[in-house]
């Protein structure tokens, strides 16, 4: 492992001054009357990393898509090195020297990792692609990200996380002048983030300008020299990182104060407080439960009002564990019981009827049904449980949708909008709503706060706690250790697709977890002590 | 080296089973083969020439004694028939001829002359209407089918002499009842509720049966108010004629194989060369010919 250094070690460098590299002015875009962007401007200098921040739905992704011409803006000028350019497609943007990683992984899942890295620019001889050469280069490129995969294997074999790294690697490898990253770190863990930052620093040194979208403020202060904030599609302000301390930044983003967002919440596991049913017998138990080549057999007990966190590196088998429990994958060993009775868990439908809920990690491919409305997406699971013959009346549907749109502050608050048109973070909220609507007795969340902005992040955690207080059992996968630490009563640490450690009570600390992951001795915490959290 | 029919194997590349008549031809051929206890292999080409060529090739590969071919189209047989010739397998064409270039490539053709059929129908109509002006609607066969083209041409020849008889509308009914009915319905609408229609000519009886229904539903009286003439002489048209709802049909005999078998047996036995063209009769039937009786004798032929 390369030595991981805490984000706080390196104070943000002084912003490079001089001629702007990329300059955009008067960007406006509206969708069917809804103003997503309104007179936005941004100036990126050579060799600087420029944070583009804002709440979910603020317009960050739209701004980026307008820059690269993927979305056709209504107004606005764009100039690179003082020369006005107007790319009309991603292709032209790349030609102009602007490489982009869009918010959702946008690669061809069926192609090999290597092909994905070099699609459109494969090394050829006599018009024939040189496979060997391409694989060699691919391996080299990924090595920079400390990722060593079988580059000939189809991309879809790998997790979102890995796919995201590949997407980044592709963009980095392409970026001639400007690199745009839309929430690249959402699915990465501390280790990958550090690797990414190392790469980004190299690029900065080469005078490449970087636009960096994230919801993790630490990362902003770790890597960026300048910040531009959007609010409801308008420019809320722009400043150097030095001039803009956290509190002001948050205020600028939300347009209001927010306590939790800045101060890391003190650890307050629910079971610690006397919760109705916290001491009750387990709702669901799993003994020696596992699947060969997927996850090694494990024991697990899930209690009402009790939060179990799963921690581990990418590919450690967290997602696999959750899928196994929800019946999306089939165990070939062990037994599962619900309320003391043995259950088969042969399919998600079955799990659903047992009162399980599962919020998957891969939002785009396994979460949303893009062309259905927010309302339909929210009621889907509930309807599935009620069965075909007992449809929710339109009125009930509207009520449920309205309730959760309010509760989770989904924007825009329009239940009849196809969910695919919502911003990433708002889609995530809608998915959460889908499961909350079923009032599950066990809720499984895989990376629930991925791509959620600081404000919503705090709200969602508060919500999770409220639900537990009402006696719901929770199983949470999160790469944000700080987050887990704040609410978990029990943390299971995974490594290489096996449950290797079980922490409870006061052992649940970021260093403790990191130690368990790195199988080091908890006594002297490894460097990455800060983990990553808001 | 005389070969008796008994130990002959004959392959028959049949066009398909697109119509009642075709089904009858297949049934009758089988029956005829049985009579002469000839081993008879039938390959159904489902209206595709490529399938027929495949079938002929596989017959050659199997080394049959003779090949019957009911060509779906008149052209494009040279190559495969040459292969048959090389393999010394005589070929007999059934029910349709192929274009002159291929004359040397087959032993004989047992066919009816579909132009002639149309002509017979046309002449009957001219004779029947006498001098009265008569506007005819025509239900064509499948567009591109040679039979359709020929029967159209023949009919036009047939009425050429009579300036009082002319075709006012002509559409394809794809040789089927359903389309025949649908097209006739639109003809009736287009011709002022059918008042202007004096006669219907259909390239086959199936379409005519459909057309008759359409006329009845429109309150017209086929057979009296509107004359009908069609081709094939399938049982159902005789039923209609017996009921006075149809006037005439031109027979296309389904027994093409019979003469063909005789020719082949004679050829194999004593090497007698059959004539190049064995033409089957195109007999005209009208209500005068006791349609009921004909229906009874035809209805079990597998139409």
């Amino acid at each position: 492992m390369v030595p991981i250094s805490s984000p706080h070690d390196d104070a943000p460098a002084a912003p490079p001054s001089g001629a702007p590299l990329l300059e955009l002015t008067g960007f406006s875009k509206s969708f069917a009357g809804f103003k997503a962007l309104d007179q936005v401007e941004l100036t990126l200098r050579a060799g600087e990393a420029h944070a583009l921040l804002g709440e979910n739905g603020a317009g960050k992704s739209t701004l980026i898509k307008c820059m690269t011409g993927v979305v056709h803006r209504d107004a606005g000028r764009l100039s690179l090195d003082g020369v006005e350019i107007a790319p009309r497609s991603a292709e032209e943007a790349v030609k102009a020297g602007i490489a982009t990683v869009y918010q959702e992984v946008n690669l061809a899942p069926n192609l090999s990792v290597a092909q994905n890295l070099f699609l459109g620019r494969q090394p050829t001889r006599f018009g024939l692609v040189r496979e060997g050469e391409m694989r060699r280069r691919a391996t080299a490129v990924l090595a920079e990200f400390d990722l060593d995969l079988d580059v000939a294997a189809p991309l879809e074999r790998y997790s979102v996380a890995v796919q995201h790294i590949v997407a980044i690697a592709r963009a980095v490898d392409q970026s001639a002048r400007v690199l745009i990253l839309d929430e690249p770190t959402a699915s990465l863990d501390a280790h990958e983030v550090e690797i990414l930052f190392a790469v980004l620093r190299k690029l900065k040194a080469r005078g490449i300008g970087i636009v960096f979208v994230t919801h993790f403020l630490d990362q902003v202060y770790a890597i960026c020299e300048r910040i531009t904030v959007l609010r409801n599609g308008r420019l809320a302000g722009s400043a150097t990182t030095a001039e803009l301390p956290r509190l002001d930044l948050v205020r600028m983003m939300l347009g209001r104060e927010l306590a939790q967002a800045t101060a890391p919440a003190e650890r307050a596991p629910l079971a610690a407080r006397e919760v109705a049913g916290a001491r009750e017998a387990a709702f669901a138990t799993f003994e020696n439960y596992g699947k060969a080549g997927y996850v090694a057999p494990f024991d697990l007990a899930l209690r009402p009002g009790h939060v179990v966190g799963l921690a581990g590196l990418l590919g450690s088998g967290r997602t696999e564990t959750t899928r196994l429990i929800f019946g999306a994958a089939h165990a070939d060993s062990g037994t599962a019981t619900v309320d003391g009775a043995r259950v088969a868990l042969a399919s998600p439908a079955e799990a659903l009827h047992l009162g399980f809920g599962y919020c998957p990690e891969e939002r785009k491919t396994e979460g949303i049904v893009a062309e259905l409305t927010v309302r339909e997406n929210i009621v889907l699971a509930l309807q599935a449980r009620r069965g075909v013959t007992r449809p929710l009346s339109r009125r009930e549907q509207d009520e449920i949708a309205a309730k959760f749109i309010r509760l989770l502050d989904i924007r825009p608050p329009d239940p009849e909008r196809p969910i695919g048109l919502l911003s990433g973070g708002n889609q995530q909220k809608a998915l959460l709503a889908r499961w909350l609507a079923t009032q599950p007795r066990l809720l499984i969340l895989d990376e629930p706060t991925r791509g959620i902005d600081v404000g919503a992040h705090a709200e969602i955690i508060a919500l999770i706690r409220r639900l537990c207080a009402q006696g719901m059992a929770l199983l949470v996968v999160s790469s944000e250790l700080e987050e887990i630490v704040t609410y978990a009563d029990e943390v299971i640490v995974l490594r290489d697709r096996a449950h290797v450690a079980r922490l409870t009570g006061d052992d649940i600390t970021v260093p403790g977890i990191l130690a368990a992951i790195a199988e080091a001795d908890p006594a002297q915490p490894p460097p990455a002590a800060a983990g990553r959290a808001a | 080296t005389g070969a008796r029919a008994g130990d002959l194997t004959i392959g028959f590349s049949q066009i398909g089973s697109e119509s009642g008549w075709r089904a009858a031809e297949t049934t009758v051929s089988k029956a005829e083969a049985k009579k002469r206890d000839i081993t008879f292999k039938i390959a159904d080409a489902q209206q595709k020439q490529e399938n027929q060529i495949k079938a002929i090739r596989s017959f050659i590969a199997q080394g049959v004694d003779a090949i019957f071919l009911a060509p779906v189209v008149s052209t494009g047989w040279d190559t495969v028939l040459k292969e048959a010739q090389e393999a010394k397998i005589p070929v007999v064409l059934l029910d349709r001829d192929i274009d002159p270039a291929g004359k040397s490539l087959y032993l004989t053709a047992v066919t009816s002359d579909s132009v002639h059929e149309g002509k017979v129908a046309g002449e009957w109509l001219v004779k029947t209407v006498g001098g009265k002006p008569c506007s005819v609607v025509e239900l064509q066969g499948t567009v591109g089918a040679s039979v359709a083209a020929n029967r159209k041409k023949g009919f036009e020849d047939g009425i050429a002499g009579a300036s009082n008889v002319k075709i006012v509308r002509s559409q394809t009914g794809d040789f089927t009842r359903a389309k025949g009915k649908e097209v006739m319905e639109s003809f009736i609408k287009a011709e002022g509720g059918g008042k202007n229609i004096c006669a219907v000519y259909a390239h086959n009886d199936d379409m005519m049966v459909g057309a008759i229904q359409a006329m009845k539903e429109a309150g017209l009286k086929p057979g009296t108010q509107v004359l009908t003439v069609s081709i094939d002489a399938v049982p159902d048209i005789f039923k209609a004629m017996a009921a006075g709802e149809a006037n005439a049909t031109v027979e296309l005999t389904p027994n093409m194989a019979g003469p063909a078998f005789d020719a082949i047996v004679a050829f194999k036995d004593k090497g007698t060369m059959p004539p190049k063209w064995i033409q089957t009769e195109s007999k005209l039937y009208t209500q005068a010919d006791n349609p009921k009786a004909i229906y009874d004798q035809k209805k079990d032929l597998g139409y």
Partner: protein, 330 residues
Amino acid sequence: MNAASRLMPVAATTAVFLLGFLVCSLTFPNFASLRVVMNLFTDNAFLGIVAVGMTFVIISGGIDLSVGSVIGFTTVFLAIAIERWGVPPLVAFALVLVICALFGAAMGAAIEYFELPPFIVTLAGMFLARGASFLMSTESIPITADLYSHLADHALRLPGGARLTVPAMIMILVVLGGMVLLHLTRFGANVYALGGSRVSTALMGVNVTRTTIRIYMLSAGLAGLSGIVFSLYTSSGYSLSGVGVELDAIAAVVIGGTLLSGGYGFVFGTFVGVLIQGLIQTYISFDGSLSSWWAKIATGLLLFAFIGFQQATLRLARRSRRHATGGAHA
């Protein structure tokens, strides 16, 4: 091993074909002959050629229903050009290929610019091409040019009266060419990418429009070539030739292990798919006892047998295949 697992469908299909051939050989005495194999090639040459084009279209997530009609159009056009206008055959070939390619390009453009579903655009193309050939001539026209009779007779004579004919050779070349183009070029990679995710491919900076147009050009062009082969095969032009070929081609492609939803598939698989269909045909005609309806039922059953067996093989393969564990961090 992943490469193997991706080749699985093709392997399964091939295995199925060989098994089928074995069964036939055991059932019929003079089946297992070189002649039968060569006939299989010659008789299915035109299908093989269109199927290669169809493979590209389907892998890219589209479909092309117009190919059958394009074949019909080509044969009629050639017949008229050569026989009526006296155009030298080779010139006519070039001419018709250009026309077909343009036709394909037009369909591709319609699909791209107007965001219309390929199924319907190509369905309209199907009507159009067939209609055009009707307008040119409804009756079949023999082609008497020497080149035709020459090419028709020209063939590699192999032992056992078997002949490797020109159509067969062309098909084999097209299959090889298709394999190279699909598996070894950037264009091929783009085709797969399109099938994987159209949006992503565009975002990755691939010119989706151009690629799509080229794909349909290729398909229509190969349909034209197939039409040329068909006209060689029958040395005539006929407006009704090639009816329903689009379905046979699609079936061949899918039987060959290509996913109709796009993104996965191999040209070689398609080739085997074509042979399988030819084999079914041959089996039926060898056993001449089947009445035309039993023949149809048998065709269906055999199709089911082949696909069922293929599925079973794949299931087994998947079961044995482990969940990929790409190497963890260095």
